[in-house]
Symmetry: C2
Subunit: 245 residues, 2 copies
């Protein structure tokens, strides 16, 4: 060995390999597990969303068969369709996350264990060879300043740092792509969705305004619980009990 | 009774009450149950998302402590924070959905059963009273064309239709508001998220370009599996086995 400098270089290079093996790769493996849970939870959400909006769509079909609420039925079916499309698109993002992030992380971490272990063994062997060659030459009296050996150690460290860097870079790239694909979906869908939702509100409001109202009675105004934000109703007996709606 | 017209009016009015009681309200009750499942599934997703991005953030903190990947660490922490904020905002939308849609549907359907039953009973009693008064008058020889009775039946039907309509309108309004709140979140968040994600990609790419590359060897180029989309590495022994990354 050639003093503190090469010892330090050697130790930090080993520490980089150790950190990849004992921190990065187990962390990546844990991410794969947690990511699979995340995807399963999304799939469960998609199932409950489908059940909800399919039931809402059926309410829309019921409304289509009434004399009073055909337009509302149409709106309810459109809302359901629109939510289902959104869930489908999100399913696409999660499929991408599975195939392009989780599966690649899983493949990499599986293959990396052996690769990094071998790299580290080869490095250690080469360090031993070079160190003993240096010592042999020095014992034989061949003049050596050790600078070639230090240069070799520096190169090895530089490569180890690159290994580490490319692993974190992969992680950062994959996850910024994931965020990007969510943002892309939001930007693609958000504007149209907002317009449609406003259109539905207008349509629905229009049905309220376009009907003639019966004149309200004082006692109705007082008793009216009016949960559905409607005007109090008229004088027919069916409105004799207090209104909940 | 006064002929087919009033009979028909009476039957369809009863059918409207029946439809509210036997179709609309049970449908609404079912939506409440499905909606609660939907919210529970979202909460489960939020938990798995938090676990995933908290683990990713820890990887970022690890990277911050390296010599090679501080910037990547910073990016990973930012990505995690950004996804957590998004989940928090979605939690707000689902909280709103719970309090403003599901809870109101649940309250309404609970109160409506008795209300609609009473309305229908009162309507039937009033119809019987008016019909027998009409018959009594006709028996006494008081001239009656029944038009007042038909007018009464029409008004009752009009009110029953309004009851039905306001119930479907409530459903359509609440759900277009739900879609609107999702769309609002998408529009508010999507643009900034896309910009940030692009910024992260640029930063991460910059780390790749700004490092000097060691010249590649032919055998490395051939063997390089290059899973992390990196250039083949240099001549140090740690790259002696084939590269997985």
């Amino acid at each position: 060995m050639s003093g503190q400098n090469s010892d330090q270089l050697h130790r930090t290079t080993l520490a980089i390999y150790t950190s990849i093996m004992e921190q990065f790769n187990p962390g990546l493996q844990r991410l794969v597990t947690l990511g699979n849970n995340y995807i399963q939870a999304f799939q469960a959400l998609a199932v409950t969303s489908e059940a909800y909006f399919s039931a809402l769509s059926k309410m829309g079909e019921q409304a289509m068969q009434t004399m009073s609420s055909r337009l509302m039925g149409d709106v309810l079916i459109q809302i359901s369709d629109s939510q289902r499309r959104l869930t489908n698109e999100l399913e696409g993002v999660f499929r991408w996350f599975h195939s392009e992030v989780l599966r690649e992380m899983d493949d990499n971490v599986r293959l990396d264990k052996e690769y990094i272990l071998n790299s580290r063994r080869r490095y250690e062997t080469e360090v031993r060879n070079q160190a003993s060659a240096l010592e042999r030459q020095m014992r034989r009296g061949v003049p050596q300043d050790g600078s070639e050996y230090v240069h070799f150690l520096r190169e090895c460290q530089r490569e180890a740092l690159k290994e580490e860097e490319r692993r974190y870079r992969f992680l950062a790239e994959k996850h910024s792509s994931f965020t990007q694909s969510i943002a892309y979906l939001m930007n693609k869908t958000g504007g149209g969705l907002q317009n449609r939702a406003e259109g539905w509100k207008d349509l629905v409001n229009h049905t309220r305004e376009s009907r003639p109202r019966t004149p309200s009675r004082v006692e109705d105004s007082i008793l009216d619980v009016n949960r559905w934000a409607e005007q109090p109703l008229g004088t027919v007996p069916s409105r004799g009990v207090e209104s909940l709606f």
